[in-house]
Point group: C2
Chain length 332, copies 2
């Protein structure tokens, strides 16, 4: 089987990690990379990530690619916000390049950005390529996994999922994004301005409500600081007792035929990182993943596990619910 030609768009921490791991995969061939940062324009990919093909140079815009192999798939790691990433998606789809992206809002855009979702779906169908938002959260632990856990149930009334992440083990930008090292007052101001926190809980809730036939939910979200009770130092930040260690983010989605409750704690020094899912169903199901699903690695994995099937996937804007199953077929 020929390798799937892959281009990377966005060479931040997740994009570079995805690139490094893509190079290790037999079924993928990295044929291009794009980043808007002028400092990277024209750089040899091999100078940015060891082992990358020397012949590939970073372009500044999708339009700079002249000819890409047929069946090329783009992995886009640029923005959490759909509006910010949409021009990139349009440019790729216009070139008939299938897209898989870590853009959190792309995971389930039909509810919050219905116009953009319809426009991208129509463009993808017209160009006969697929577009998918995936990752570990949203895209797996708080949505697809709970949905699959209902498989042995005769009836489901509610789904509760709780994810605890030790942000100290994650990249610097994420530690800052959860407010580690801020005062509670700073946190509150920044959170109100939407500059802190996690993007994707409503997407997960809406995906679950759609998957389980709950109907359209009314969603309430609450973002509180998780305050440190002991000093915590990571490679990127130092948190004193009384300062913010991270986020305590809760969501309740009340739909006509069921309820989804999501709880995400992401803070430096988190004890007992884990993912827990409780299906209030017949029979009830309680699942626990001790240690959790390490976020950055797992997001890279979700992107790379999805990529090979994208070239052959049915055209249009897809969701992880449309399959194929998220499986890892790579060796260590």
């Amino acid at each position: 089987m020929a390798a799937t030609p892959l281009v990377l768009v966005g060479l931040g921490p997740i994009g570079r990690a995805t690139l490094a791991r893509a190079l290790e995969r037999r079924g993928l061939a990295v044929v291009g990379a794009c980043d808007a940062d002028p400092a990277l324009a024209g750089a040899r990919l091999s100078d940015l990530v060891a082992g990358a093909p020397r012949s590939v140079r970073v372009v500044s815009a999708i339009g700079d690619w002249k000819a890409l192999p047929k069946g090329t798939v783009a992995v886009v790691c640029t923005s959490s916000q759909l509006a910010a990433a949409a021009p990139t998606f349009r440019a790729l789809l216009a070139k008939r390049i299938a897209v898989v992206s870590s853009c959190e809002e792309l995971t389930w855009p039909w509810r919050r950005s219905p116009r953009l979702a319809r426009e991208l779906d129509a463009l993808a169908r017209r160009k006969k390529v697929a577009l998918l938002g995936t990752g570990v959260n949203p895209g797996y632990v708080l949505d697809l996994l709970p949905a699959v856990l209902t498989g042995p149930c005769l009836a489901v009334r509610a789904v509760r999922a709780h994810r605890v992440v030790d942000a100290a083990l994650r990249r610097g930008p994420l530690q800052r994004k959860v407010g580690a090292g801020r005062t509670v007052a700073e946190f509150t101001t920044e959170a109100r301005a939407g500059r802190l926190g996690h993007v994707g809980l409503p997407e997960s809730a809406e995906l679950l409500c759609a998957a389980l036939g709950f109907g359209r939910p009314r969603i309430v979200e609450e973002l509180l600081p998780k305050v440190a009770t002991r000093p915590i130092a990571t490679d990127h930040v130092r948190v004193e007792p009384g300062q913010v260690a991270g986020i305590d983010h809760r969501l309740v989605a009340t739909a006509p035929r069921g309820v989804v409750e999501l709880h995400l704690e992401m803070y430096v020094g988190a004890e007992a990182p884990r993912d827990e899912v409780e299906i209030d169903g017949d029979p009830p199901i309680r699942a626990r993943l001790d240690g959790g699903t390490p976020g950055d690695l797992a997001t890279v994995a979700a992107l790379l596990n999805a990529a090979p099937a994208m070239a052959a996937a049915a055209p249009g804007l897809r969701s992880v619910l449309d399959g194929p199953f998220p499986l890892c077929r790579a060796r260590g």
Copy 2:
């Protein structure tokens, strides 16, 4: 959306439970039932299962049905063995009726019954209907669920799954099938003759090896008795200390690119029933379902959750890997 017309074939404990639960589901309409037992021939379904339509009478053979609604799906709960169930599958497929079955060997028949698998696949394709073997074990806890748990992994080297079932909470035939109440000598004789134990571990292992790209496995199985250390009484059997409480069934599948280890303990009085999955991967994943996935209910659920999609599924012999995702869309 119109309800999916459903016929039940095989009115044993699982068939009747499936029927009873199908009657509660809005999206399904029970239009027929078939059982080879002459004592049931012509019986009103409502006399066998409360709430069933009075107009439906049990037929003794598939051929006795004259006209069934277009898009009818059959749920077949007759035998664990593919060879025994095959005539039923042939008769249904010949009538262009899609089939979902609890027949354990149908879950992954390509390796152990390749000729029969090819024949049924060809017939199903010719008749443009789908045929699927599913359930909870095989079909979910020891195969599909572990496969989906690899979704956030960059690489997978091995999968280990352990299921502990309290047979005391299961139906009488299952308690006898695991040897509860036998002496160890009787157990050994019966096990050697293939009259005891669980059908489906090799199917789960082969499904996993195929899903994860491990290649064809070499499989070793070991079936030992689980001996009671205290007296246990259920509604169906009494077990004295030193007698057999159930089975301790292990399987190791060694494939060119990975290893699958399955361990199934099914015995009366089992402590801490649970399902555990360990993915030896990058990152490693450890999942635990406390209380496990109750077998009989969950098998019924797996059949009913799969049934609605069967009428529209791509023709041919399918596996749970082909999707759609096993989801419950029913209310309590």
